[in-house]
């Protein structure tokens, strides 16, 4: 009996130390992950000198920084460009890719399956390997230095088709069949029966596509080579590599660029995670 109690106590002590150890690790890691965010927000309210001298508290210079950011540079225009490109990409990509996925899944045939497998293979090609010939295509279409050049290549992504197709597998076929019996045409069925049911999938895909477009850097850097049309990441990159960087203003520009993603993440966390992991289930 006594040894039993001892044993249980031992196990408990081991369990407790293990728990404390877990908390310490998670605490340190969480701090490392979150601190740069704090520093970014705090720094955006400071003067450049205060940041350089190592002040990490929240300051009172945010109005000044906002003024500088929106007056001195064409930051607002870059913001507008990014928003326009990201929204247009999202709308087009979701429509076209989900239609294709529906076609592949619901109207599958031998040839379509083969084609789909070929498409999946292209997913393995790194973008870096395609960007130069893709740039040639953009020049040939005379889309160079136009905002639409950032939109069009990501309108039909194989990943999105794959993502939608995975979720259409689970869609109840009886619903489609009964609508057909009622005489609705196929596009109507898609719009008024399939789409409403799949809204969570669309939300996840929208978040994925929007953030990918909003954050895209290398491709706009290539196609938008003239300084008239810039997107937000390009603008931030230029700001940070200027000869006399104003740290407060740069941090504020990062805050403005990151805030939409953070807001979307916290308000739609479920969809956000579903969007990431849904495709591999």
């Amino acid at each position: 009996m006594v040894t039993m109690v001892k044993k249980i106590k031992q196990i408990n002590i081991r369990k407790v130390t293990k728990m404390i150890f877990s908390y310490i690790i998670l605490g340190i890691v969480s701090f490392i992950c979150v601190f740069p965010f704090y520093w970014m927000f705090a720094g955006s309210t400071q003067t450049s000198n205060a940041i350089i001298s190592g002040n990490i508290s929240v300051g009172s210079n945010i109005i000044e920084n906002l003024k500088t950011l929106f007056q001195q540079s064409d930051y607002l225009r870059a913001f507008g460009n990014s928003a326009f490109a990201a929204i247009l990409t999202t709308v087009l990509a979701l429509t076209i890719s989900s239609l294709a996925a529906y076609g592949f899944e619901i109207f599958s045939s031998k040839f379509k399956n083969k084609l789909y497998n070929v498409l999946l293979l292209t997913m393995m090609i790194p973008f870096a390997a395609l960007m130069i010939p893709l740039y040639k295509v953009i020049i040939a279409l005379d889309l160079n230095n136009k905002l639409i050049s950032v939109v069009l290549p990501s309108v039909a992504t194989v990943f999105l088709i794959f993502f939608f197709k995975q979720s259409f597998i689970k869609f109840p076929r009886e619903l489609i069949q009964s609508a057909r019996v009622d005489g609705a045409n196929e596009f109507r069925i898609f719009r008024s029966i399939v789409f409403p049911v799949m809204k969570p999938t669309y939300a996840a895909a929208a978040i994925l596509t929007f953030t990918a477009s909003w954050n895209n850097f290398l491709w706009p850097l290539i196609t938008l080579s003239s300084n008239d049309i810039q997107t937000l990441p390009l603008k931030i990159s230029t700001l940070s590599s200027s000869y006399t960087p104003d740290y407060g203003v740069i941090l504020l520009s990062i805050v403005v660029a990151t805030l939409p993603s953070i807001v979307v993440f916290f308000s739609l966390q479920k969809h956000f995670v579903a969007g990431l992991t849904g495709a591999i289930k």
């Binding site: 890691v29 969480s30 992950c33 592949f104 790194p126 390997a129 954050n215 992991t277």
Partner: protein, 330 residues
């Protein structure tokens, strides 16, 4: 601007209308004559064709075009056909070798550390008795929300010679213990070794939580009974981890490994934004950066850039095959 938007929208609209009318006409024409089964196949194509047009123009044509591009030796817009010229150049190009070495170092150092950390954090977080799990999970995932450029610039500022990180290190090292341990500020952005360390640390910060989410969702789908049975059989934690958790997560580990490999091989935003402009960039120039330099910074040579691009693609393919093989063993 507005007129541009209008023009674009009108073009898109007219295109969509044209495609719609055409397909509709074709379908109507054929519908009466053919069987139910054929009908479904044709309607299916109507769903797929818009995507197929875009994929053809922006994926298939570039793929085919790159095969042609490899045979071209260019100075600016003047190109001449030289079948093996670019490959010869590649073999004797020290800058390419350096870029390949850098990229490979990032891959071989960063990917294993990141995936191990992600797996360990996921296992710790998967303990149902742990409090504040949601808070920890959100905190560790949060870096994945930032854009690559934003966090790169953030890291550049934090790791500047007189930045917050070096100030903190100086503070920690400014006492007998710190001096004994040799804690002193380093040139994160200027010293060749620390430049690479900076990139690896930045990548770990950005992507560990992202990969952790995949493992967490995988862990939740493992049957609890398997663990219970193992515990009854007297397996210790380490055994459970290596004999149950890792094998069960194998497909997800493979997926994250392949994705991380492809991602690391085309690394661009981080070295471009963190290191560039801080003196020498030799030790962090990646293959993607080299492609960019060859195409847009020096005298443009798209043909040669296409060859370097093939190196990325072939390396990615080889590493992916190796990873698939490794995961099939034992």
């Amino acid at each position: 601007m507005q007129s541009l938007i209008k023009k674009i929208l009108l073009t898109i609209k007219s295109l969509v209308v044209k495609i719609y009318m055409k397909t509709r006409a074709i379908i109507k024409n054929l519908l009466g004559k053919i069987s139910e089964k054929r009908r479904a196949i044709i309607i299916g194509w109507a769903f797929i064709i818009p995507a197929l047009i875009f994929i053809t123009v922006f994926i298939f044509i570039p793929m085919i075009y790159s095969v042609f591009l490899v045979t071209q030796s260019c100075r600016g817009i003047v190109c001449e056909t030289d079948f093996f010229g670019n490959i010869d150049k590649l073999m004797g190009d020290p800058q390419f070798k350096q870029a390949f070495k850098n990229t490979f170092i990032f891959f071989i150092v960063q990917v294993p550390i990141m995936l191990t950390l992600a797996l360990v954090f996921a296992v710790i977080l998967n303990n149902p008795k742990l409090k504040f799990r949601g808070v920890f999970r959100t905190a560790i995932f949060l870096p994945a929300v930032t854009s690559l450029v934003a966090y790169s610039v953030l890291f550049k500022m934090m790791l500047a010679p007189d930045g917050i990180v070096n100030t903190t290190i100086e503070f920690l090292g400014n006492n007998p213990i710190g001096e004994f341990l040799g804690i002193k500020p380093v040139g994160w952005l200027t010293d060749p070794f620390w430049q690479r360390a900076t990139i690896v640390i930045a990548l770990l910060w950005r992507w560990t939580g992202y990969n952790m989410i995949f493992y967490l969702s995988g862990l939740q789908s493992i049957d609890k009974k398997v663990y219970e049975a193992a515990e009854i059989d007297g397996a210790n934690k380490l055994q459970i981890f290596f004999k149950i958790t890792v094998p069960q997560l194998k497909p997800i580990i493979l997926f994250t490994a392949v994705m991380s490999t492809i991602g690391t091989l085309q690394l661009f935003d981080e070295p471009f934004n963190i290191i560039a402009g801080s003196g020498t960039t030799v030790s962090t120039m990646t293959l993607s950066q080299y492609i960019y330099n060859v195409s847009f910074v020096n005298i443009p040579n798209f043909g040669y850039a296409a060859v370097v691009a093939y190196v990325i693609m072939i390396t990615a393919a080889i590493l992916t095959v190796i990873q698939f093989r490794l995961s099939r063993e034992d």
